[in-house]
Symmetry: D2
Subunit: 339 residues, 4 copies
């Protein structure tokens, strides 16, 4: 049993913690948090040990009994998944290092922090035994998920993608804009480079704009194939050979990110999460070019990747496909079609 | 076993159907729907019989095998819960009548359609054995839930409420406004009168405005007590004696409808639903007046009411408290504090 | 000619500066600003002298030639209108005091800063000759505008108001929420008390919630008259005796804040501003109670108040009605109906 | 003096009417409208003759005296600008034809209606003397404005554009979505083809998604040049040789469509309109590829195009540059830099 701690218990942390608790080869040691909030209250009520990541005052008067400090938690863990806010993870690295504890960081931290960015289908093997790794961001994970199968099975010359970014998570109410479209004025955007941390040498260029919505990011992706002959069926087959991609059709009323998320809620998963990348089947495949829309549930798509990263780094499973299948079965993600 | 059909499978219908399936004294005969969509696809994939409410063409090419027509479904039912769009329910009444089938309508239909509007805590007894009833709307249910305990336990002179309405449901993308506040220019609004269909003779007056959000309605309620002496503790006790009210505190980060819904998702319920009315504990109780904010999850709060209405109308349970306790246990709603 | 400087050149500052420039008894000395932005660029291109409120570096490379520092500007002014962000105004007071310069602060500063809060119709006379005053906030101004005529002409027993607040200004993109309703958990809200700084002894209580829109605040106001006999006509007459109130009818398509602002743009005023408080005529007057909806253009309604405050404090006009008429003519605000 | 009528008095119609009234070679005969609303009330109060486009009942009780019917207006006109809702224009064509009156339709109508689509810089000459023409839509106008200079001056191999569409106009409150991103599932979108109606043979492909905002459309455009050697300065020069393009810099705080529109309001134009296409100067020019963001004020950018179309069709000015200069001077659009 891999002993796992989760540092930071927000949007990603609480989902990773729940996913860890579902694995039969992992044990959730506890969560670490700066102070009390409603998320931590629910965690405590479920019996998850709560450690204090800062001053214990943050829990004063909450009635929650602390299991110790962050340092105490780290000592009990084989690996910590750091889900603290962007930039804080980097500051925590030395703590993990000193304790001889493995650690996974999230996509808000720079690639240089670990020199190893992770996506299960892309580079599981390279993470085996690693001390530190970084699971790439929700957008990068989304791009890697649908691009890698095309690259491996059909061959890609180049990728261009436009990212329509949701501006805040559903539970986050401080950030705007309320009524504006905000271009990422840095052209091209950093997302393309980040994809290359898990799919090296890919010719990819991205641009992005932020819009006033909370549910999902939307990507418009244009792939130029390396050779002629890849038709719609070939594309669907390449995607069908992997888990973590789910196809939607406008014909059955899924016309926006709103219905995708409603569909996910209907599936009955915890929190209505969609771990898969949602792809609309109204795509265009012409000559050597494929264009498609996909949507990314930013709260959830990196969760199975974190679970696989734990397994790879702790060396309990060396076969990517086996880890992915195990993770996905536990989370209710539908398995790929068997050949 | 009460044989229940659900006509209409949208936001409310799908939730009522799932709730019926959880009851040990009910059997879900099936759902009726005009045509194919993603919601029906999931229902079919779960093995729920699908009946055609219109022309079978609506399902052409969908691959879903129909269990029959709406008429066929009605014949097999003791009671139908009509969850069709506003105004359609009224047109369906004669169909149910002809088949000798009981029917429940939703709050979009007028009180006059059944002359019996229903809220479990308010008037369960009056629905026992009834052929037709109408479960009041989400907003009316929300007001009745917190007002009735105060009226019964403490005595109310008058109620004034302002309703900040969400403009569309999360899965509904056609309606606006996108950037405006829209007053309900009819002053007072119809909600007050609707509350009186379940709490007769209450002196209540309401007004409302629509705003660009999808998650929950928000109510600001001011209650004038009939007598002196009701303090904060008395209010909390009155509410604590009933289920279906849940208190929130801004101190733990629940500062808007967004965090309330995030909390509900953390609870692990299907679709992240909140059946309870969310009340902020930052209320004011002064002299003879109480003012508080509450939020209503419009997709979910009427679901347990529909289940209780089924039980009352079919006469299998004549005690309101017992039906409520049974319904709530099945849905994971926390029971009231025992005295 | 009153020599007026404007410190802070954001949403309010730029409008006050333009309004000052329109007055034949005032001269705009210039504006002071911390650093360069698009607003200041336009000001400079119009020939308005720009003073540096902070380090001159804020203007480095902008090509704008500075007219001096904030201190330089203050020295040349009879009065400064401080339109800096909330809280900054208070820090500036000693600077104005030292220079012997009068100053007006905005509603984000506390009443205690000046002990004199200003609204032209409410208390013009009390500001005559004052060294410091504070123009009350957009919401307080909006409430005072429609309440005062009723109080003076008809007599008020009490006022209850619910404020649906826009969450950010149109040009402000950092603040949320994007999809939530946020109650002001402090019950009652501070707005009622603030109204009493300009209408003393008024029995008023307010509550508020913030919603994801940028255009206008919306108020639902219920006024209880002191005596019987005030009907709809009496109310319309009381309002008609003053400027700065404008009536709208849902019948001609003005159904939300969006159409009110579109109407204002059609009027052809600079920036499409609505200086008046917009009141819907679909109000309810019954027995001794009046209920109505009004909308407040938060960017603009305090602008004429600032102009009147300048005139009162500098003592060039001691008659409120004359100053109001003069201000409003210059801004294109329609005059009251003459009796 | 060209006698011009405007049929339809909504977002576009009212702006075209005002622009016509500003031209010294045109006379506004009047506007035609189906019924009364606040926009028409303002028009009437300004003395613009109002004609009834439908049953005169639409104006019953409004107090506005009608100047006649739509047919009456058409008889008095040399040309009518049809600004009726999408699809209605096509139905009106025979009316204009019968009366021997020229007519301009808007971009919501299909190109096939007139076989002549118009954009001033693209094909002014081809409209000289034409009976019927169609001014292309706001998005197509926006693309043509920045693409044509590059094509003519530098040579283009291909264009790819992603369009982030505003979902509704500021005054339109019925349409959603409120919280979703909606892909245009038709890939590629129709916009590319529409650009070819004014820039024939251009290799252009577009895709689009709709987002919950009202202010402006946003385009991300990637242009592949036909030859090497076009650098940033060459691009800026090409754009600088034409009117109707305005550059913005993120450095001065213009970071989204919200600040662009605030800037336009600061310019002091009627309704705060921006007739120009707003282009961010944070663009990328590398090797043979240029990528940039631009924003389109959908309420306004086609207005000057309609004025030029009138002049071309009525044959009073055969030189495109002269008409553009005249139009732009009247509207306050800054002229191109003189070489």
């Amino acid at each position: 049993m891999i002993k796992v701690g989760v540092n930071g218990y927000g949007t990603i942390g609480k989902r990773v913690a729940d996913a860890v608790a579902l694995q039969d080869d992992m044990k959730l040691v506890g969560i670490a948090k700066m102070g009390m909030d409603y998320k931590t209250r629910i965690a405590a009520s479920k019996g998850i040990p709560v450690f204090s990541a800062g001053d214990a005052k943050g829990f004063g008067g909450s009635g929650v009994s602390l299991a110790g400090t962050l340092e105490d938690m780290v000592k009990q863990c084989d690996i910590v998944v750091d889900c603290t806010p962007e930039g804080v993870g980097a500051q925590n690295k030395s703590l993990y290092e000193k304790a001889g504890c493995r650690a996974i960081f999230q996509g808000g931290e720079p690639h240089s922090l670990t020199s190893l960015s992770f996506n299960a289908y892309s580079n599981y093997a390279s993470a085996i035994g690693a001390k530190f790794a970084r699971v790439v961001s929700c957008n990068t994970t989304g791009l890697a998920r649908t691009i890698l199968p095309l690259q491996k099975d059909l061959g890609i010359a180049s990728v261009r993608a436009f990212i329509v970014r949701r501006a805040a998570d559903p539970s986050e109410t401080r950030s705007g804009p309320i009524n504006a479209i905000e271009p990422e004025r840095e052209v091209p955007s950093h997302h393309g480079e980040d994809v290359r941390t898990v799919i090296p040498d890919l010719d990819i260029e991205t641009a992005a704009a932020k819009v006033p919505t909370t549910l999902m990011h939307m990507h418009y992706v244009t792939v130029r194939f390396a050779e002629e002959g890849s038709d719609r069926d070939a594309v669907l087959e390449a995607w069908g050979r992997r888990n973590r991609i789910i196809m939607f059709s406008g014909k059955e009323g899924v016309t926006s990110t709103a219905q995708v998320m409603d569909y996910a809620r209907d599936l009955g998963r915890p929190r209505g999460d969609l771990y898969e990348i949602a792809v609309w089947d109204d795509m265009k495949v012409e000559e050597m070019e494929l264009s498609y829309f996909q949507a990314v549930h930013q709260e959830a798509d990196v969760v199975p990747e974190n679970i696989d990263a734990i397994r790879a780094m702790c060396g309990v499973e060396t076969d990517a496909d086996k880890s992915i299948a195990k993770t996905d079965k536990s989370l209710g993600i539908r398995a790929k079609k068997e050949d």
